[in-house]
Symmetry: C2
Subunit: 361 residues, 2 copies
């Protein structure tokens, strides 16, 4: 078992990473000391892992909520269902919500934990690559609104993250590939050496070789831990983790949530960010090709839907990352070094949008 | 204008208290620096004060949401309406929610501000005595659930509180009296001298004499400021502010939210807490009579509805303040000194409940 610590003073917490942690009563006892536990999972993950998790939590009162699968259920209503279940079970302030599943389950369960009695403990047990390397770590929770993704939410740090890397074996290959987009993101914004490691070990990751998976999950969590510790509430450096996300949100919103996987949209978005960085003279053409090649080898799409630049810009303007009407984009000063830009030249942005989204509808 | 500061490090904020602050552009400019403002009010308060507030906020983009009046609308759905309005107005992370009204408006608007894009600025403009002395200060926000009051919520500190004491002139006398229950609470748990001042100045307060009102609002805010600064998230001392609230919640829940005003239920609850403290030998019979007399002179009810002790206990057990199945009560070690008790003898509690709620249904 490997361990990464998110250093947030009194709210610091461990990320436990390794194969078979779902059956590791000792690890679970450390992560979930509460007596009353509400496990939130979904209809896909539940049948695979819920029994094992509940067995691992023996000695506690464990209640469960089974959510429907999919991003379109990441709503205020679904969070309300979890809250209803907690009230029905008469859970108190010392209860703990455990999220067993991917990013959607973690986001909505974490938001319910943040809101129940103004905040109860919360533990993430991520079962997708995306959740293990990204969404389970850092305390962002929330739900979507018809007007935009994650518009409703809270910062609510988990008290532990338990990443059983064996659970990735049940992941559909499309979701594994989508998770790799976020893995590649860490290399692009923060660690050129890790980017090189990924280029050399992509096949091993896709084959889920245990050592490769453990290294990748650990390295991503280490990078995220350092960034979150420096900027918990995303006033500055944390925004780097949004590389590709503003473009990606436009893709997801235009297609309707759930058509594109989040990681797929982020992958195309990162390519667009690289392209825009080239427009600004920060990356060379060879750098952009290196990004495109890695995304391609990971089996990720590289073309945005032809929604037109104007519509894309409109959707991007609704993104949370817009401040005072100005779109802030994460770009690349070079490979391995992200930079937040609040004053990207409009002409360069327009050209990038047109070349990827098409020029009109 | 008087000023009390809530000292919470980076989240410190001022409470501005005085007559006519709604027309004081300078005070409002200090409290609300944001460019985009969402004013939340209700159908009773809005017609009285909204125009003046909007005029005072000139130069900004101001949108408004008008909620129906009453505790029964303090729901997740109502919070959702505010969130919908903010999305529709395309407000960003730098927006500010301003709550113009009493405790219900402040609680639900504050919760919406806490959730919108994981938290935006929030300013309280309380127009009831209860809100000016209690609910607007300290960062507790939330909504009710059919299973219990304030079961859903967040700690989200305002960036300022603007208490125009003249607005109390439009308050129905029943609400003024209910607000006095919370004023009396501060004397009982924390300040015997203030309790004495209240006994001497109750008539002046009921007549809304400006100097008396300003002194009472200021002193309550000072006491609350000290307690909140020491214990923002209610792990300890802050629970003292719940004197009478656990009993009171049972009354409110049994009667259906809105039948009893919160302050009325708290008033009876404080009398029960005093009575129980006498059972434990902490107060004398004369002390309890002093509490009863002051509540009576404030025009507050002193009898609980006859729901029976068993039902009352059941409702109290659903209160948020229950930890690990044990009811924690705020009692009085003496007048002017509250104490949180997690191990109140069951027999004394039963007797107190029976004598106030009746022994059965």
């Amino acid at each position: 078992m490997q361990r990464v610590t998110i250093d947030l003073g009194a709210r610091s917490y461990p990320i436990l990473i390794g194969p078979g942690l779902l059956d590791d009563g000792q690890a679970l006892a450390e992560a979930v000391p509460a007596r009353d536990v509400m496990v939130v999972t979904n209809e896909i993950v539940g049948p695979l892992y819920l029994d094992r998790l509940v067995r691992g939590l023996q000695g506690r009162r464990v209640e469960t909520v089974l959510l429907p699968d999919g991003e379109r259920h990441k709503t205020l209503e679904t969070a309300g269902r979890i809250l209803d279940a907690m009230v029905a079970a008469r859970m108190n302030r010392d209860a703990c919500v455990v999220a067993l599943g991917g990013g959607v389950v973690g986001d909505v369960a974490g938001f319910a934990a943040a809101c129940y009695q103004r905040g109860v403990d919360f533990v993430q047990v991520p079962t997708t690559l995306l959740a293990q390397v990204d969404s389970s770590v850092g305390g962002k929770t929330g739900v979507n609104h018809p007007g935009g993704k994650n518009l409703i939410g809270a910062f609510h740090q988990p008290r532990a993250v338990v990443s059983d890397t064996e659970t990735l074996r049940s992941l559909p290959v499309r979701e594994l590939r989508a998770g790799l987009a976020e893995v590649i993101k860490y290399g692009l914004v923060a660690d050129l050496a890790f980017l090189g490691w990924l280029e050399s070990n992509l096949a091993a990751l896709l084959a889920l070789e245990p050592a490769a998976v453990a290294h990748a999950v650990r390295r991503c969590c280490e990078i995220k831990a350092a960034i979150v510790a420096a900027d918990e509430r995303e006033h500055g450096a944390r925004a780097l983790l949004n590389l590709g996300h503003t473009f990606g949100h436009a893709i997801e919103a235009a297609a309707g949530y759930g058509e594109w996987l989040h990681g797929e949209a982020v992958g195309v978005g990162m390519l667009m960010a690289a392209d825009l960085s080239r427009h600004l003279g920060w990356l060379g053409a060879a750098d952009v090709e290196r990004v495109r090649d890695l995304l391609h080898r990971a089996g990720l799409p590289s073309s945005a839907p032809p929604i037109g630049a104007a519509r894309a810009l409109e959707l991007m303007a609704m993104d949370k990352k817009v401040l005072a009407g100005r779109i802030r984009l994460v770009l690349l000063a070079r490979l391995g070094e992200g930079v937040v830009s609040g004053d990207c030249p409009a002409q360069a942005l327009r050209e990038t949008l047109s070349s990827h989204f098409g020029s009109g509808t």
